[in-house]
């Protein structure tokens, strides 16, 4: 039903438009807020006159009347940071949605499945032992994420085609790899341990334009794959038997979607560290808004996941003066509170 050809605009389309405007508003607001206050008028002026595809700070284009320092703050600090937050929100939300749908488990998210613990372990190992070898954290996280999926499939063995077994072995892998990460932490020097800990709690602080390209590419490809197979994934929600009878290659589909999710998660964990709860919560909030059809949820998750992460980032850098809280703390705290309120009010309405 998400179609341009259907001439009647239905409530779903209005909700999408509303979510899009909310995202744009959140983005602009997050761009203006911070330790250095830049007014909305200045933001609009910057976006309309000062943005050029080159480094906007060095050579101001014609008509730009903004102080170079402000331009620098926007271009070099805030924009990359906001885009990284945006991408993280999108990636984790759509992964959560897809994992919940293919396992028919409302608790599924990249964390439950051990993908992020695998990626964390890989990244932590690189940071603790191989930092001098020049290996990138991203590579470590990717290898770790792939390893966790591999381990999960081995553990599930022949019964990996049964959803419940798959989820259980994912949980087992998650704890196993989590234990190894703790072990590495335990045996590291205090300095390394504290930087590892801070990294694991998640942060957008190191965002640069260069660092954005890989997550953006992986998430774009992942989104396209999810979008192409959205009807199939949706039918999986009705059970494997139904999906098979509709001509869907259930086992292949589930396995490939799992791999796509682990790629997205691994890249994100490598860039921003561990950020929980988003992948679990955003799909549920979207379900309350547009129902359970995956094709409708997918776009909604992109918009709301991105917007939510922008607010989380805003809170994390404005709650304490001169200090940035780790993102993971804020997502979990704000997220659980928000989620709790929503569940409560939903029950009242029924």
């Amino acid at each position: 039903m998400s179609s341009a050809i259907v001439s009647v605009i239905n409530p779903y389309h209005w909700k999408l438009v509303a979510a899009l405007f909310f995202l744009i508003f959140s983005f602009l607001f997050a761009l203006s807020a911070g330790d250095v206050d830049i007014s909305m008028t200045q933001i609009f002026h910057y976006l309309s006159h000062c943005v050029s595809l080159q480094d906007g700070a060095t050579s101001s284009p014609m008509g730009c009347e903004m102080a170079p320092l402000y331009q620098k703050i926007i271009w070099q600090i805030r924009l990359p940071r906001l885009f990284l937050a945006l991408l993280t929100g999108i990636g984790l939300s759509i992964c959560g949605l897809i994992l919940q749908a293919i396992t028919r488990n409302p608790l599924a998210d990249p964390y439950l499945f051990g993908i992020s613990s695998g990626a964390s372990l890989g990244a932590v190992l690189v940071m603790a032992f191989l930092a001098s070898a020049g290996l990138s954290i991203t590579l470590g996280a990717l290898v770790g994420g792939a390893f966790s999926v591999f381990l999960m499939l081995i553990l599930a063995g022949r019964s990996m085609l049964l959803v419940e077994r798959l989820v259980l072995s994912g949980v087992a892998v998650s704890f196993m790899l989590g234990a190894f990460t703790s072990l590495v932490l335990y045996f590291s020097t205090p300095e390394v341990a504290s930087s590892l800990l801070f990294w694991m709690m998640g942060s957008f602080s190191n965002a640069t334009w260069q660092a954005l390209s890989l997550p953006a590419l992986v998430i774009l490809i992942g989104f396209c794959i999810f979008f192409i197979y959205r009807h199939w994934i949706n039918a999986l929600q009705a059970g494997d038997d139904t999906a098979i009878s509709l001509g869907i290659p259930v086992d292949t589909l589930r396995l490939s979607m799992l791999l796509v999710c682990s790629a997205i998660t691994a890249v994100l964990v490598a860039k921003v560290g561990g950020i929980g709860f988003v992948g679990l919560m955003i799909p549920h909030i979207c379900r309350m808004l547009v129902g359970s059809q995956v094709n409708k949820l997918l776009l909604m998750c992109v918009l709301l996941g991105a917007a939510f992460m922008l607010w989380v980032d805003l809170i994390s850098r404005s709650l304490l003066a001169q200090q940035v809280l780790p993102i993971g703390i804020v997502t979990s705290a704000v997220g659980s509170l928000f989620f709790f309120i929503i569940l409560k009010t939903k029950r009242l309405r029924r």
Binding site: M1, S2, S3, A4, I5, V6, S7, Q100, A101, R104, N105, P106, I228, Y229, H231, W232, N234, A235, Q237, A238, G239, D241, T242, I244, S245, L246, G247, I248, P249, R287, G291, S292, Q293
Partner: protein, 295 residues
């Protein structure tokens, strides 16, 4: 010998010595059968006799360990899953979904085999969904949450999904389970009038006799009898397979057979089960003559 009806020579499904084993355990054993086109075929048999497994073979949810299965005179493995889904729609036993899907969203799943992955939904798709829901009498419930429906309504939604799917063959696994008698009749009547080839498993032998024009009687994974209800539902067959004393007579309401059972457990069953033995004196009190006859 496989049963072949005289009127239609081309079988829809033809199985030859079909076997299915799981870990050395034989679930289906040497199943040979012919299912004619445009017929209403019932698969009957006790619990665990292989009814569901046979249905699962017919849409290739499971692949038989050995033997040959033809669909429309071609090996069923020569079809792609998608081609099969275009021709065969399946209704599983009354489901409940983890996520709250709406009725029209469930029916829309029937469009999947017909449409390519990249296609977006069209106006005629919405119309097809509306039409199917009207056909099953659920026009007003299209926006209701599927899980909130009653058992009978759920079955009707799934029938609407099969209609949207546009398949010529409908497989149903105990569609009347958990339904009261009025809804059982309603569902079977609805399916009967859809002008499709229907294969369904049933527990209620009287419903099977009244609605099916071809029956397959299974026991322990083997075909015991197949043919018209008159040929299959005999006192001997029922005693052998279901271990009940039954009497077959003509129904007061329709031309088909009707079965009445002796509702007390049979003595050979009682011997194998200690808990049931206590029922024996009660039984003797009601059927003293019959009990003696068995002894």
């Amino acid at each position: 010998m496989p049963y072949t009806p005289k009127s239609i020579n081309v079988p829809l499904f033809a199985a030859d010595k079909l076997c299915w084993r799981v870990d050395e355990q034989v679930i289906l054993q040497n199943i040979s059968l012919n299912i004619p086109k445009q017929s209403f075929v019932g698969i009957i048999g006790p619990n665990g006799s292989g009814k569901s497994s046979l249905l699962n073979c017919l849409y290739r949810k499971i692949n038989a360990t050995s033997g040959q299965l033809d669909f429309n005179q071609q090996d069923i493995h020569s079809y792609s899953r998608r081609d099969l889904a275009k021709q065969i729609a399946v209704l599983q036993q009354e489901p409940s979904y983890q996520f709250e899907l709406r009725v029209d969203e469930v029916v829309a799943m029937g469009l999947i085999p017909q449409s390519s992955l990249l296609s977006i939904s069209r106006v005629q798709d919405t119309d097809a969904i509306k039409q199917a829901l009207t056909d099953v009498g659920l026009k007003d419930k299209s926006e209701t949450i599927f899980n909130h429906l009653s058992g009978g309504e759920k079955q009707r939604v799934l029938i609407a999904r099969a209609l949207v799917q546009g398949a010529q063959v409908l497989l149903l696994d105990e569609p009347t389970n958990h339904l009261d008698i009025a809804h059982q009749i309603e569902i079977l009547h609805l399916i009967k009038n859809m002008n499709l080839s229907v294969i369904l498993s049933l527990h209620d032998l009287n419903l099977a006799a009244a609605y099916c024009d071809h029956l397959i009687l299974l026991d322990k994974g083997q075909v015991i009898a197949q043919g018209s209800p008159q040929q299959v539902l005999t006192t001997d067959n029922l005693k052998q397979v279901f271990k009940v004393e039954a009497q077959v007579s003509e129904s007061a309401f329709h031309q088909q057979h009707q079965i009445s059972y002796d509702l007390m457990p049979q003595p050979d069953q009682l011997n194998s089960s200690d808990t049931l033995t206590q029922a024996t004196p009660h039984r003797k009190a009601i059927h003293p003559a019959k009990e003696q006859a068995h002894e």
